[in-house]
């Protein structure tokens, strides 16, 4: 057990794993960024560099049977939900060994067996799905909880309003996690949303709303853990807002004219990975050497994932019409 203020389910070993996991997320997306810049991956992608803590910290408190619904900015969620970086990288390369056999790409990575019900290319499109998955948990007494990730932009979609209300009236085991990274593509949240905090909207649905520093792993874990427990015990959903920031642009071609470099630097200084490392070292959970080694391992796993992806075959043209119907 740790002397840190973390949920009871979080051991020292788990804390170390989480530190490495955060680096895996960062290295994965930085690698993807480089490959896009070089034209080695096509299509588009949305990177979560800077948002590692909200994925790693939220999913850390789940049990293996629990489920998540992710977003277009979903690589971190997938990695944290026991995702396989080889299959993820292979998918971005459009290879047969990818999570979606090369047919989905970045925005549709899903790992149904591990409880990741998928990234989603439609802003707000996954929120109703999370409610449905939570309904199954309730109707079949499976006792799992669904974490539903979405962004500040999605909170202005009608699907958000309808879904949170539905989950609230049915007391469904779902936790709504709004990753407020301050911009819906180029739209600043302060211009697009009149309330100061998206979590303030929770009161409109009669459910608790919580605001969390999205770069603070301990605060994230504790808050999500409490909401998950509420949900699991049949006490219904919570809306949690993570104040965070995406260091990179919205997608691959973004000149970021809508924000200043000063603002970006302010948020970079709040880096959730660095902060978590400091906390772990100060608490004696991790040494500087161990931290270095974990970071190095994460880097190596991403290099290996690239090799795996590059060595994987393209999908056969014969698979084009497969899997339209079950």
């Amino acid at each position: 057990m740790t002397n840190l203020n973390v949920p009871a389910s979080i051991s020292n070993e788990k804390l170390k794993d989480l530190y490495k996991e955060m680096w895996l997320i960062r290295y994965f997306d930085e690698k993807v960024d480089q490959f896009f810049a070089k034209g080695l991956i096509h299509g588009t992608t949305h990177l979560c560099v800077g948002q590692e803590a909200s994925a790693a910290g939220s999913i850390a408190v789940l049990e293996s049977k629990d489920k998540i619904i992710s977003t277009h900015r979903g690589h971190g969620h997938c990695i944290s939900k026991e995702g396989d970086v080889n299959k993820m990288m292979a998918e971005l390369f459009g290879r047969e060994t990818g999570y979606c056999k090369g047919k989905g790409g970045s925005m549709h990575i899903a790992d149904v067996e591990k409880g990741n019900l998928g990234a989603n290319g439609i802003v707000g499109g996954g929120i109703p799905l999370a409610v449905g998955a939570a309904l199954t948990s309730k109707m079949k007494n499976e006792n799992y909880v669904v974490l539903c990730f979405f962004g500040d932009g999605a909170s202005n979609e009608g699907s958000f309003h309808e879904s949170v209300n539905l989950a609230a009236i049915w007391d469904l085991p779902v936790v709504f996690i709004c990753e407020n990274n301050q911009y819906g593509m180029s739209g600043p949240v302060k211009d697009m949303t009149r309330v100061e905090n998206i979590a303030d909207r929770a009161s409109a649905y009669g459910i608790p709303g919580k605001i969390v520093d999205g770069c603070d792993m301990l605060e994230i874990m504790n808050t999500v853990d409490e909401a998950v427990e509420q949900a699991r015990n049949g006490n219904g959903p919570t809306l949690i807002e993570m104040k965070t920031y995406r260091w990179k642009g919205h997608s691959k071609s973004d000149a970021k004219k809508y924000r200043t470099r000063e603002e970006e630097n302010e948020w970079r200084a709040k880096d959730g990975i660095k902060r978590f490392k400091t906390v772990l070292i100060e608490a004696g959970v991790l040494t500087e050497d161990e931290a270095q080694a974990l970071q190095q391992q994460a880097s190596q796993e991403i290099e290996d994932a690239v090799k795996f992806a590059e060595a994987s075959p393209e999908p056969s043209i014969d698979t084009l019409e497969e899997d339209v119907f079950a």
């Binding site: 489920k67 619904i69 990818g98 999570y99 979606c100 056999k101 090369g102 047919k103 989905g104 549709h108 899903a110 149904v112 067996e113 019900l117 998928g118 989603n120 290319g121 439609i122 499109g125 929120i127 109703p128 799905l129 999370a130 409610v131 449905g132 998955a133 939570a134 309904l135 199954t136 948990s137 109707m139 079949k140 009608g158 699907s159 309808e162 879904s163 209300n165 539905l166 009236i169 497969e322 899997d323 339209v324 119907f325 079950a326």
Partner: protein, 329 residues
């Protein structure tokens, strides 16, 4: 018992009820489907038998309830979603088109979405432009959705059983003017495979492919034409995705003439697809006259009853079309 007649509406209810008695994963959700019994009374009595957990009365939130059905289906349930009017599918469109239809393919063959979206469609009730449309061609255009349009009480029960058994999202259009029509319906469960057309009337001079309400208009037209010595074959595809091309092709090869009739707007309607399919098939060489399509005018469905009727094909229109294509007989 063998000749029991019930209404189309009762057949829908019976199909759901029998399935829900034997499969705990099947449940229904929708607006006012509880005590009220649904906008058209289809679910009347069901909440009393199955309770509010399995007959889920929902808020007026088409996007959320459609998405909840998709999410529940993806995680092991077999939901039936009732939308009060098929026009409201516009509000649930993202969930059906971008989510339900594509999930399995996007995920590389993992996950399945076994759900049925049941919804009343069609004009003829004076409900005007936003409650009378026939939008099935939209859904038929989307890879990953199956589309069913039953025309009789017998068909609706068997097709709904097949739809509930299917592991894919099925859009199930119930024509609102057919709800009160009666027919022979066996009490026991039975399944009519999706993708199997039914020749509702055999004939030799011309094939009419008609859907939903138009099946009955085509049959009435055929009965009138018989008196004039014109033999009409009426083919009801029953499902437009998958489409039983073989039955239609064989019929056209036999009669050498094709008329397609649907209530949906002719422009972009499924009639164009069926006509093109025949033009591209071996049946083309058998055609003795140009293919004719009858469909709704390109107008919103109007309120006034005379205008409303005039907006979609009627029996005299079908008779006139038949006479035109057989004139060189």
């Amino acid at each position: 018992m063998t000749n029991r007649e019930i209404t189309y509406l009762e057949a829908v209810r019976e199909a759901m009820t029998q399935e829900m008695r034997q499969n705990q994963d099947v449940f229904i959700l929708g607006e006012d489907i509880g005590i009220y019994g649904g906008a058209f009374g289809v679910t009347r009595g069901m909440i009393e038998e199955f309770g509010p957990e399995r007959v889920r009365n929902t808020p007026i939130s088409e996007a959320a309830i459609a998405g909840a059905a998709v999410g529940a289906a993806l995680t092991g349930m077999r939901p039936i979603l009732e939308l009060q009017f098929s026009d409201f599918i516009t509000i649930a469109m993202d969930q059906m088109v971008n989510q339900a239809a594509k999930t399995r393919y996007m995920f590389g063959g993992k996950g399945k979405v076994p759900m049925v979206l049941r919804t009343p469609s069609g004009s003829g009730t004076g409900a005007a432009a936003q409650h009378s449309q026939s939008l099935e061609a939209w859904m038929a255009h989307i890879p990953g959705l199956k589309v069913v349009q039953p025309s009789t009480a017998y068909d609706v029960k068997g097709l709904l059983k097949a739809a509930m058994d299917d592991d894919n999202p099925v859009i199930f259009y119930e024509h609102k003017l057919l709800y009160k029509t009666s027919g022979h319906v066996p009490e026991e469960q039975y399944s009519i495979p999706l993708g199997k057309a039914d020749v509702k009337r055999e004939g030799t001079d011309v094939t009419i492919v008609a859907t939903a309400m138009m099946v009955h208009k085509a049959l009435e037209a055929a009965a009138a034409l018989e008196k004039e010595g014109i033999s009409v074959e009426v083919v009801d595809p029953r499902t437009i995705v998958p489409l039983d091309e073989e039955t239609i092709i064989n019929s056209v090869k036999k009669t050498g003439r094709l008329i397609v009739v649907h209530e949906a707007v002719k422009r972009g309607g499924i009639g164009g697809e069926i006509a093109s399919m025949i033009a591209e098939s071996e049946a083309f060489d058998y055609l003795d006259a140009p293919i004719k399509r009858l469909g709704g005018l390109a107008v919103p469905i109007p309120y006034n009853p005379t205008l409303e009727k005039a907006a979609i094909p009627q029996i005299p229109d079908i008779i006139a079309a038949v006479k035109e294509v057989v004139k060189n007989k």
